[in-house]
């Protein structure tokens, strides 16, 4: 498996270096729940085959933003466009990995992973071929016939990831997909995901609480801040070559991490003073 990813560093670097034309275009986006305005005036472009990570304090509207991009929520101002079409409801080729996993408790791992394929009208034989592939890919081999309640949180999250990946989306929206796994598994999954991405590059919007993860995974890091929140900063990561363990030791990695950290820390301090 590792062989394949080693054959592809060029493609990886290329895709990271010059993302294609904007696949997702967010203009003047604002969203309120009743009187609570979550965010306002968000302008973002996500290129084809680009990985953009989004960080921001808890409650700043990261999940809400992903829901708007997926077409699950109506927006109040502005618009989200994917490939030039305004999004009003979920669109083909866009898949989401949910923070709440959203697995069907009465379905086995296998059946959960097959769910999206079935809805897309993929043939039975094709489903039988693909499902085990993606189960293996996320490292759930041997748990095909387990039910979600028999899995750990991290395993459930991987099952949700496999379900989204199986539909082979062009746009993958991920809401803290590795929040429930331990540090080691998390690292394995991060590099696995990058490997999967290198095999089949797609536009990826990746929400995370972990600054390290944001810098490691992202071509760009979007920092959301404020109340209502808006885009505070967009950081070009441009770390060299395919990301791997050595990336974590790169001076530029540490530099960006510290930068994002202090940005968010200012906000946290400000919030604290407000409370006091």
């Amino acid at each position: 498996m590792n062989d394949i990813s080693e054959q592809l560093p060029d493609q990886d670097a290329e895709a990271a270096a010059e993302p294609g034309q904007a696949r997702i275009e967010i203009t003047g986006l604002g969203k309120s729940y009743g009187s609570l305005q979550v965010f306002k005036d968000i302008n973002l472009n996500f290129g084809e085959r680009e990985i953009v990570t989004i960080v921001g304090p808890s409650g700043c509207g990261k999940t809400t933003l992903l829901r708007c991009i997926d077409g699950l929520l109506p927006v109040n101002e502005g618009a989200v466009q994917i490939d030039g079409d305004e999004i009003a409801q979920p669109r083909e080729g866009v898949a989401m990995v949910f923070q709440h996993f959203g697995l069907f408790p009465w379905k086995t791992v296998e059946q959960n992973v097959a769910y999206g394929l079935k809805l897309a009208g993929v043939s039975k034989s094709e489903i039988q071929k693909k499902v085990p592939e993606y189960i293996t890919l996320v490292g759930l081999g041997g748990f095909e016939t387990s039910y979600p309640y028999e899995l750990s949180g991290g395993m459930q999250q991987r099952c949700g990831l496999a379900r989204a990946l199986a539909t082979e989306p062009h746009v993958l929206l991920m809401d803290e997909p590795f929040a429930a796994v331990d540090a080691q598994t998390r690292e394995i999954l991060q590099f696995e995901l990058l490997r999967i991405w290198a095999l089949r590059p797609m536009t990826m919007v990746f929400v995370t609480h972990s600054i390290e993860e944001a810098v490691l995974m992202g071509d760009r890091v979007v920092v959301l801040k404020g109340r209502p929140s808006s885009v505070f900063e967009i950081i070009e990561v441009n770390l060299p070559g395919p990301r791997d363990r050595s990336t974590l030791g790169h001076p530029r990695f540490a530099e960006i991490r510290e930068h994002v950290w202090s940005t968010l820390m200012d906000e946290a301090r400000a919030a604290e003073f407000e409370v006091n």
Binding site: L119, Y147, E150, T167
Partner: protein
């Protein structure tokens, strides 16, 4: 002492089954003793003797030497199943529809709760005097006894469907029909089955009650005839039959419920 307690509480199959059998034999012995020492008009023994035949011999006669009794039994089962199946067919879809159409639910919720707690037996004279006494009004009685527990539980289940799952379905571009098939029905099923188990007990009461009033029929008629003749063995034999039916329905419902509730492993 500890040894005795742990032996008593052990769940080994042998201990279990011997406990069950001893308990049943003891119950039978008490019944027999009480029956033999009472006047025949008040209490029949379980087995009895030559001049004082008890409940089990009567049961034997009913089942192997009394075609009319078997007809009554069939009649009762027909009544029960018709009312019960109709209740199922109406209550489950209605419960799910009401979970999806919130206004409908709000409009009907109070009536449903009220009727769920109303002792249906109070409505029987009313129903029978308006609609008459033949088969279908009786079916309606059984239906009403079974309907509300099923509806109430189905509705509770459908209401508690996790919005996150609907969100997932929408994200994968599911049609409304597929949302029913993939989420609403499987999610609601265990709740509905709880309702069905409750309903099977209630429907049995409804069945006997419907058969008691005015135009008697089926097992209810057998029960009334026997008690008018002070035939206690007959009364108790029929009660045993009804109890047997009740336990059978209950056990079937329980087994089905268990099978389809396995995924609620976290609730255990």
């Amino acid at each position: 002492m500890n040894k005795v307690i742990s032996l008593v509480n052990s769940d080994r199959t042998l201990v279990r089954w011997s406990t069950v059998i001893i308990s049943l034999l003891l119950g039978a012995a008490i019944w027999e003793a009480v029956g033999m020492s009472f006047n025949q008009a008040f209490m029949a023994p379980l087995i009895g003797n030559e001049e004082h035949p008890g409940t089990l011999p009567r049961l034997y006669v009913y089942f192997f030497d009394d075609e009319e009794y078997l007809l009554s039994l069939v009649q009762s089962i027909q009544l029960f199943s018709t009312g019960f199946v109709l209740a199922l067919l109406v209550a489950i879809p209605m419960g799910i529809v009401m979970a999806r159409l919130i206004t409908l639910r709000i409009a009907l919720e109070n009536y449903i709760l009220a009727l769920y707690v109303t002792p249906m037996i109070a409505l029987i004279p009313f129903i029978l005097s308006i609609l008459g006494f033949d088969f279908w009004p009786k079916v309606l009685v059984v239906f009403l006894f079974a309907f509300f527990p099923i509806l109430y539980n189905t509705l509770e289940g459908a209401r508690s469907v996790k919005p996150e799952l609907i969100e997932v379905a929408r994200s994968f571009r599911s049609s409304e029909l597929a949302i029913w098939r993939d989420i609403l029905i499987p999610y609601t099923l265990p709740y509905a089955l709880t309702g069905i188990r409750q309903a099977s007990g209630r429907a049995l009461v409804g069945m006997v009650a419907a058969e008691f009033f005015l135009s008697t029929s089926g097992l209810g008629e057998e029960l009334i005839t026997a008690s008018r003749n002070f035939d206690m063995a007959g009364v108790l034999a029929t009660i045993l039959v009804i109890t047997g039916l009740g336990i059978t329905f209950m056990r079937i419902a329980q087994a089905v419920e268990k099978k389809y509730s396995a995924w609620r492993g976290v609730d255990r």
